[in-house]
Structures are given as C-alpha cells and as structure tokens.
C-alpha cells in the first residue's frame, strides 16, 4: 500500500521541518528498540527464573505427594482423609503490591502472608499419625511459597509481554508508517521545490533573452 503524504505546504521551511521530524522519529525508534531489547533480556531472565521456580515447586510437590502416599500406605486412605478433613487448615493470604522493575515499569509484587504457626501444639496427634503425614503437610506449606513466587513471575511476564507488544507496535508504526510518510512528503516537497526552481530558471532565461533582444533593437 502506497504511503499517503502528509498535508503540508511545499516550502523549504516545511522541508527542513520534515527532515527534523524524520530524524526525531528515527531517534525515538532507536530508543524504543533499545527499550525493547532491554525488556526482552529481562523477559528471558524472568522466563529462566520461572523455570527454576517451577522445578523447585515440582520437586516440593512431588516430595509432598510421595510422603502423602506413604502415609496412606502406612495408615490407610480412609484414616488419612479423615484426619486431613478434620485438621485445622493453614491460614494464609496473598498480599498484592507493585514494585519498580526494569525501565521503571511497575511490576506486581506478591507476598505470602502466612499466619505464624502455633509451635506450642502439634497439628496432628503425635501418637496416632505417621511422621510422613506431618512432613507431607509441611512440604505442601513450603510449596505455597513457590506457588506465590511462580504466580508473581507469571504476572510480571504477562505485564512485560504486554509492554513488549506495545513497544513493538510503536516501533513498527514509526518505522513503517510515520517515517515512510515523512519520506514520501519530503520527496513530494523536494519535487515541488525542484519544479518551482526549474520554472524559475526558465523564467529567468526567458527574461534574460527578452532583455538581450531589447538591447539589440
């Protein structure tokens, strides 16, 4: 699709303005490109962090799960489910804040707000529950920390992807819309100015010829 020229007066002043606008647009595109590269580097770092958190979460949940299965094997599924349903649930919440991240962008900051465990008394009956159930419960509680960190990193990545898409759109708009439009307009203004120049020079030559003819007469 041919780029539409801008609606400007074909004057030298306008040509200078257009050239200045083009240089400015190229500068902005370069800055945006650098921002984009910085964001992509940060995105890769976060993606790697997500991978390591996901690995830790998987390890922690697998350990909790196998300990839970062991407790079921030792005490029976019915008893374990009965104990699990009647025990006091863990009291926790997730606090959502924002923190300045890369390029000063506000990123989500999730904090696990866990009520301090009452260490004075055990959660399960000490003489009637296998240690595996207690260990499984504490591994599951430990997994919450990874789940919150994973949710935070996922939210950050989502935010970054949105910003990257926005920056890419801005760069594309400058490079493939604004700059070509300015280029077309510059060419148009230059053509008009050249045309005016040619007409002027013909006019000058005609005038000079007429003046010479008058002198000869």
């Amino acid at each position: 699709m041919a780029d539409e020229k801008l609606d400007v007066h074909p004057t030298r002043l306008e040509l200078l303005r257009l050239k200045r606008r083009k240089a400015l647009a190229e500068g902005i595109a370069d800055i945006l490109q650098k921002d984009l590269e910085t964001l992509i580097v940060a995105l890769i770092e976060h993606a790697q962090r997500v991978h390591s958190i996901r690995t830790s979460l998987k390890e922690s949940l697998s350990a909790a799960y196998s300990l839970f299965i062991e407790s079921e094997m030792l005490s029976g599924t019915k008893k374990v489910s009965e104990i699990a349903l009647s025990v006091e649930p863990l009291d926790f919440d997730v606090e959502v804040n924002t923190t300045a991240g890369v390029l000063g962008i506000d990123f989500p900051d999730f904090q696990l707000a866990k009520k301090e465990a009452d260490t004075t008394k055990p959660r399960f009956n000490l003489s009637d529950t296998p240690i595996q159930l207690e260990e499984s419960a504490s591994k599951s509680a430990e997994s919450l920390k990874f789940i919150v960190r994973l949710a935070e990193s996922t939210a950050i990545i989502r935010e970054m992807l949105e910003i990257i898409a926005l920056k890419r759109r801005q760069i594309n708009r400058i490079r493939f819309k604004i700059i070509p439009q300015i280029d077309v307009t510059i060419r148009y203004v230059e053509l008009i100015l050249e045309e005016i120049e040619r007409q002027d020079s013909i006019r000058v030559r005609v005038l000079q010829r007429k003046r010479k003819e008058r002198v000869v007469k």
Partner: protein, 360 residues
C-alpha cells in the same frame, strides 16, 4: 481357649506376602482368594475391584479373626481381648468426632468405621445422624466410659480447643484399661502380656517425643501427648525430652535399656546406629519393636500354650493386614516395589533384598 481354635489361625508366609509387591490389584485379589482372607475377598467382585474394597476386606478379616479369638476365650484372657478391642472402638469414636468436625456426609463417614467392638455401624450412624457438633457427640457418648473421659478433657481445657487432646485422652484411657486387665492375669501370662504392652507404650512414647522434638513442640505440651509409661518411666521420658539431638537421646536410652529385655537392647542399638537417618526410618524401627517382642515371646515360650500366643498372633496379624494394605495401595499408585518394601513392617531376621529380587 481350645488348642484347635488357635491352630486354625493362620498367617500368610512372608515370602508369599513379598511376592505380592508390584502385582496388580486383580493378581493380589486372586492370591488372597487362596489364603486366610478368602472368605472376605470372595465378597469383592472383580468388576468393582479397587483399593477401598480390598482395604475393607482386609479390615473385615482382622475384625472377624479378633472376634473369633474373643469368642473362644474365657475369663481374664477374654477380658484382656475385649480391652484390646477397645483400641478399635476408640478409633471409631475418633472417626465420628473427626467426621462431625469436618461436616462429612454420614454415609461417607460410616466408611471409616472399623467393624470391631461395640461401636458398630448402626450405633455410629445413630450418633452421626443426631450430632451436629463435637459437643453433641460427647453428649451422645455420656452413657459410655468414653463420654466421661471426653467430658473430663473438655472441662479441663474449658471447651474443645483441639481434637488431638480428645484423641490422646481416649488412647490413654484404653491403654490404662489394657494395663488393668493385664494385672488380673497371673504367672507367665502376666509377664508376657506386660512385656508386650510395655514395649508398645515405650515405642509410642519415644515416637511422640521424636516427632515433638522435630516439630519443636513445647516440652510441657509434649507431655500431654505421652501415653501411660512402660519400661521407660516418666522421669526417664522427661530426661529424654530435655536432650536436644536424636543421637544423644538414643545414647541415653541405649544405656538405660542395658538392664531391660533383650529386644529393647536390639531395637535401641539399631536406633543409635541409624540416629542420623530421617525420622520416618526411626519410626519404622520403633514400629517393629512390638513385633520383635511378639516373635521373641513365641520362641521363648513355645513349649506350652499361653497368652503370648494370642497376643503375638494379634500383633502379627495386624502387622500382616497393615503390610497387605500397604502393598495394595502401592499397587494402586504404581509405587516402585523397593519403596513399598521399605514401608513394610517385617521382622529383622528376614532378608528382604533376596526375596524382592526373586519376585521382581
């Protein structure tokens, strides 16, 4: 108890049990159909075969065997067996309390009822259908000795703050009942029964202390969770609670058990050797102690029939049922055979690695 009745009571060979590890549920059902579990297993249809049906069949078999032992016994031995069956009664009361606390559906809660003792499904259903809170359960139990025990805990703690305290009170009550019935026995019977109960109480208490220490439970609170004492007196247990690391704790107990029954020495030497191991391993060693004592009593007093036969059989049968349940669950969850084998409660003189190699 008639000699013929005792001789009819059979356990599965350990190698047969080990060969079941890693087999699918159908193969396990088929193998158990040709064992002392045949009657209960025949009630499990292959079409609906799953872990819960097999677990129920195993528990039913244990309950039937126990009832048979009670039926053929008389006098103080019968009273002792009835006291032992109270362990399952309190398990049912605990199940009712937990179900009411968790607001579980009555029919679902009844699946957790163990078919032994006077708290059968009908009695438990009646309580579950009327009780809306734990307090209601205690009121419904007021005609029984358990109701009084629970009321006492509620009065002492000014309300129901923690279900575990109610459970511990019931456990203590049953152990006291068993102990009282043992005192009614005489001669070798009393000594054997006492040895078996003491090692059970000691292992339960040591396990509770180890767990309490690992969870950093306050020492004063931890005392509440200890059962009546056995060979390890209250003073010894208090000393042990004051020791910080497991190794020092085991060193201390190993010195104390020098004068105890040889089984104690064997168990605590092993615990000291493996004191750096995870708590689950130490628990597994302690879990074996009553089993080792039962086998020791059987070998020691094999020349004549005594209470040891019955108590050892009950202990071994329960260990067998638990091992089978563990194998079935492992099969259902596709757990590697080596891991299943680690969780089985087996006597020490049996070489597991050889058999598992054969079976795999």
């Amino acid at each position: 108890m008639p000699r013929v009745a005792i001789e009819n009571l059979k356990l599965i060979e350990i190698n047969v049990l080990i060969n079941l590890i890693g087999k699918d549920l159908e193969a396990i059902r088929y193998a158990l159909a040709d064992s002392p579990y045949s009657k209960q297993i025949s009630g499990v249809s292959p079409e609906v075969l799953d872990y819960s049906f097999l677990e129920s069949a195993l528990m039913q078999n244990y309950a039937d065997t126990f009832q048979k032992l009670v039926k053929f016994s008389s006098g103080n031995i019968k009273k002792l067996l009835v006291a032992l069956s109270k362990k399952f009664e309190i398990a049912n009361i605990k199940a009712i309390i937990r179900a009411v606390k968790a607001q579980i559906d009555v029919n679902e809660a009844l699946q957790n009822i163990f078919p032994l003792g006077s708290f059968d499904v009908d009695r438990c259903r009646a309580i579950l259908e009327t009780a809306e809170s734990v307090e209601d359960v205690i009121v419904a139990l007021s005609d029984f000795e358990y109701g009084k025990v629970l009321k006492h805990v509620v009065a002492k703690n000014e309300g129901i703050t923690d279900l575990t305290l109610l459970e511990v009170a019931l456990d203590k009550f049953v152990y006291r009942e068993i102990s009282n019935n043992i005192e009614k026995l005489t001669g070798v019977d009393e000594k054997i029964a006492k040895d078996l109960l003491e090692i059970e109480l000691d292992t339960v208490n040591v396990k509770a202390i180890l767990k309490g220490k690992a969870l950093a439970v306050n020492a004063e609170v931890l005392k509440e969770y200890l059962m009546p004492t056995g060979f390890f007196t209250e003073a010894i247990l208090n000393e042990v609670m004051g020791i910080d690391d497991v190794k020092s704790m085991m060193e201390h107990l190993s010195l104390i058990v020098e004068s105890a029954h040889p089984v104690y020495k064997k168990i605590f030497t092993k615990l000291l050797k493996e004191s750096e191991a995870p708590l689950s391993r130490l628990e597994a060693i302690l879990e074996k102690a009553p089993l080792e004592m039962s086998l020791h009593q059987l070998r020691e007093h094999s020349r004549y029939y005594q209470i040891g036969f019955l108590l050892a059989f009950i202990k071994l049968k329960w260990a067998e049922v638990k091992n089978l349940r563990c194998i079935v669950k492992g099969s259902e969850r596709k757990i590697p055979p080596s891991q299943v084998q680690k969780l089985l409660t087996m006597p020490d003189d049996w070489q597991p690695s050889q058999s598992i190699r054969r079976s795999s």
